[in-house]
């Protein structure tokens, strides 16, 4: 046998095999029959909160013939892993998500089960939740997600001891007060605001809030619907100008691009008194609590994002993670069992367990459990913020589908570090 002939043939064979595998990979994703019998799989963002999810599942499994199985995926890889399995035969029946852009592509690819029929049979699946939260997972007028876990609004946290030492009596209520506080703290040699710029999404929170206060929630909604001209508007430029002013005033110090929130860098700045403020999601509280319970209970302060005079946005508007959701794959083998499981998401047991670990569910029965929260005062403050907010904007990086995330985060971080100017930022956002 000729050697070269063999090589050529094996190459051809390899090519055919490769194509075959590719095609096999593509044709997957159908058929409920190939799914495991009497099992419902949940793809879950893996973190410390999973103990509560497991408790709820245990409650369900105690009486159900179809058993629910929790498949935990490490948080940082969750989105990537989900995207690669969702259109294969091993896709989960139920999966954790953030609503909005995080499920938009799945809806467009016709992979999700609209939950409207479930809601018709049990209206509580919708009515038991705050409407502003439930709306996040409504796409093309169909409901695709049931809220679970809790709401996570972004708030301005402070080290009350640092503020008191600097003679700042109250957290800033207006933008001007914020700029004044920045100046006072800076003159005292303290980084006014801790910012985990290396993670990039903490930087985005500042952009989201200033845009919302200056231009109102409508600007981003229009941009999301495809009207990219709004980024060039007068309000957009005003918001960018104010952010530039804040950065140039030294509000974040000079090395924020080397600091991370996720490795504990920026929370430590706040806790150690090296910084006065930090804008962060409600999880700041549990982050501080796990490293220093006394600081979280006695020193950590919190307030709403300051209002901006002359801005079009309501001063009570919020940004952040409106909630987490469970969505359902359309190929699930046991839709009735899935429906019954989802009903537990507004049960007293669920709400009580979540409140116990510091999460804040947005159900109508949440209020009666707030006194049992880890810190009732903090839980009530948060719950009222969410209840009173005329608009609760989902974080931009979650509102857009995942392919836009890199562009958004790169643009905000480059804008803050001065690598691009206002025009550069506008151009980047218009490219989405």
């Amino acid at each position: 046998m000729n050697k070269h002939g063999w090589v050529a043939r094996s190459l051809a064979g390899g090519a055919a095999l490769a194509l075959g595998l590719t095609m096999a990979g593509c044709s997957g994703g159908n058929g409920a029959a190939s799914r495991p019998e009497n099992e419902i799989h949940i793809a879950m963002y893996g973190d410390a909160g999973n103990t509560v999810e497991q408790k709820i599942i245990d409650t369900f499994n105690a009486t159900s013939e179809v058993k629910v199985v929790l498949d935990k995926i490490p948080g940082a890889e969750y989105q990537s892993k989900l995207q690669t399995i969702i259109d294969t035969p091993t896709a989960p029946d139920i999966f954790f998500n953030w609503g909005g852009g995080s499920i938009k592509n799945f809806v467009d690819a016709d992979l999700l089960l609209p939950l409207d029929d479930f809601i018709k049979e049990d209206p509580q699946l919708k009515d038991a939740f705050l409407p502003s939260v439930f709306e996040t997972a409504v796409i093309d007028d169909k409901a695709y997600g049931i809220p679970m876990r809790g709401t996570q609004p972004v708030m301005l946290f402070n080290n009350s001891k640092v503020l008191a030492d600097a003679g700042i009596a109250n957290p800033p209520e207006t933008w001007e007060e914020l700029l004044e506080d920045v100046k006072i703290l800076k003159d005292k040699g303290i980084t006014p605001i801790a910012l985990g710029g290396a993670d990039r999404w903490p930087t985005l929170m500042w952009v989201e809030y200033v845009y919302d206060r200056v231009a109102g929630e409508g600007l981003f909604k229009k941009a999301l619907e495809g009207d990219t001209s709004v980024w060039e508007s007068e309000e957009s430029r005003k918001a960018l100008g104010m952010l530039r002013e804040l950065v140039d005033a030294g509000a974040f110090g000079t090395n924020f691009d080397s600091v991370k929130f996720t490795d504990g860098g920026s929370p430590a700045l706040l806790a150690s008194g090296k910084a006065g403020f930090e804008l962060m999601g409600s999880w700041e509280y549990s982050t501080q609590q796990s490293s220093d319970p006394a600081f979280a209970a006695d020193v950590l302060g919190y307030s709403e994002f300051p209002k901006i005079e002359g801005g079009l946005g309501n001063e009570d508007n919020l940004v952040g993670n409106t909630n987490n959701f469970y969505s359902v794959h359309k190929n699930t083998r046991y839709p009735e069992a899935v429906r019954d499981f989802l009903k537990l998401m507004y049960s007293d047991q669920f709400v009580q367990e979540q409140v116990g670990i510091g999460n804040l569910p947005t159900t109508t029965n949440t209020e009666k459990f707030l006194d049992k929260a880890a810190d009732p005062e903090y839980a009530k403050f948060q719950f009222n913020l969410v209840k009173e907010a005329p608009s609760f904007q989902l974080s931009w990086d979650q509102a857009y589908p995942p392919e836009a995330t890199v562009t958004i985060l790169t643009a905000v971080s480059q804008f803050f570090s001065g690598q691009i100017d206002e025009d550069g930022f506008i151009k980047a956002m218009q490219s989405l």
Partner: protein, 317 residues
């Protein structure tokens, strides 16, 4: 990979024996391994290297997010790739990383390797300690250095004469310097090992003859040790080139490609396109570019250095 060159050589072979190929090929192949011997390795290579490579080649002409079926889009991904400023920048950055990696790691590992090949006091213990970084995972190393370089609570806070305001990873120069340094810290032990082994193979008679002729340690190093290490240097450099092109974990954890796109090297760009933007078509195209570049560079190094002729540096001994 000789298959592409083989047909041109064929006429020459009929003229007479070239390159020592036995005439008995294809007949009774006594004592000469047939291709069957290579079958297990070939199948393994085909299944885990060639097949994925071909699949990636096919995917690079499609638009696919992992949902539904890939759609053929012709050359669209490739055209976009050549107009993508980040892609172009990433290639330059990768080149910079490779060059800086070679420049920093090679001299250090040759010196350490030659030193470790001797039999000084404490050599074994110090070598073992120095070997430790190689045993740690890249992820662990990155997390470790990330924490050490925290501007407020790490080294920069204590050493402002070196780090200034501590914004080490917030500037492009600083971030590149950190990645090169961490790469050096991590991989020098490995290359040291290569040179240590090679230096031990150098026959002592060469040094004995040289010292009789009056050559000092430095002269011996440059006239005997370095030339004798030539093949090892080529091996080590090829590994650095390929390793440099595929550097990924340290970038992901230490800088996340930033500040901005300041350290977005090609391999990280590929990951970002495929697994963050879920554009597997573009990601596959970048992967192919990486395959082509690393193949070309490796071939070039092998050719230019005469490594392909496998000439022994010990002839006559």
């Amino acid at each position: 990979m000789t298959t592409t060159l083989a047909p041109r050589r064929r006429p020459a072979r009929q003229g007479g024996p070239t390159k020592g190929r036995p005439a008995s090929r294809g007949g009774s192949s006594v004592g000469r391994p047939g291709f069957v011997w290579a079958l297990p390795a070939s199948i393994f290579f085909a299944l885990f290297a060639l097949v994925p490579l071909l699949a990636v080649a096919v995917l690079s002409f499609t638009s696919w997010s992992g949902l539904g079926d890939p759609k053929f889009v012709g050359l669209k991904n490739w055209e976009a790739l050549f107009e993508d400023p980040v892609m172009l920048q990433s290639l330059w950055l990768s080149l910079l990383f490779i060059v800086l990696g070679i420049v920093t790691q090679t001299p250090l590992s040759i010196l350490l390797g030659v030193w470790a090949a001797g039999n000084q006091r404490n050599r074994a213990i110090l070598s073992a300690i120095y070997f430790v970084p190689l045993l740690l995972s890249s992820a662990a190393i990155s997390v470790l250095w990330r924490a050490l370089l925290d501007p407020n609570f790490g080294l920069p806070g204590q050493m402002s004469w070196l780090f200034g305001d501590g914004n080490v990873l917030g500037t492009q120069t600083g971030a590149i310097a950190v990645l090169i340094f961490v790469g050096m810290w991590q991989f020098t032990p490995f290359h040291t090992l290569i040179y240590q082994g090679a230096a031990r193979q150098i026959p002592p008679v060469l040094y004995q003859a040289a010292s009789i002729d009056g050559a000092g340690t430095v002269r011996q190093f440059f006239s005997i040790t370095l030339p004798q290490l030539k093949n090892s240097i080529i091996t080590s450099v090829i590994l650095m080139v390929v390793g440099g092109l595929t550097t990924f974990e340290t970038v992901l954890i230490l800088t996340n490609g930033g500040p901005g796109t300041g350290t977005t090297i090609t391999a990280f760009h590929m990951y970002q396109e495929a697994f963050r933007r879920f554009d597997f078509g573009t990601g596959s195209a970048i992967a192919l570019v990486l395959v082509v570049i690393s193949t070309v560079i490796s071939f070039a190094v092998v050719r230019l250095s005469g490594y392909d002729k496998m000439r022994s540096s010990l002839e006559g001994l």
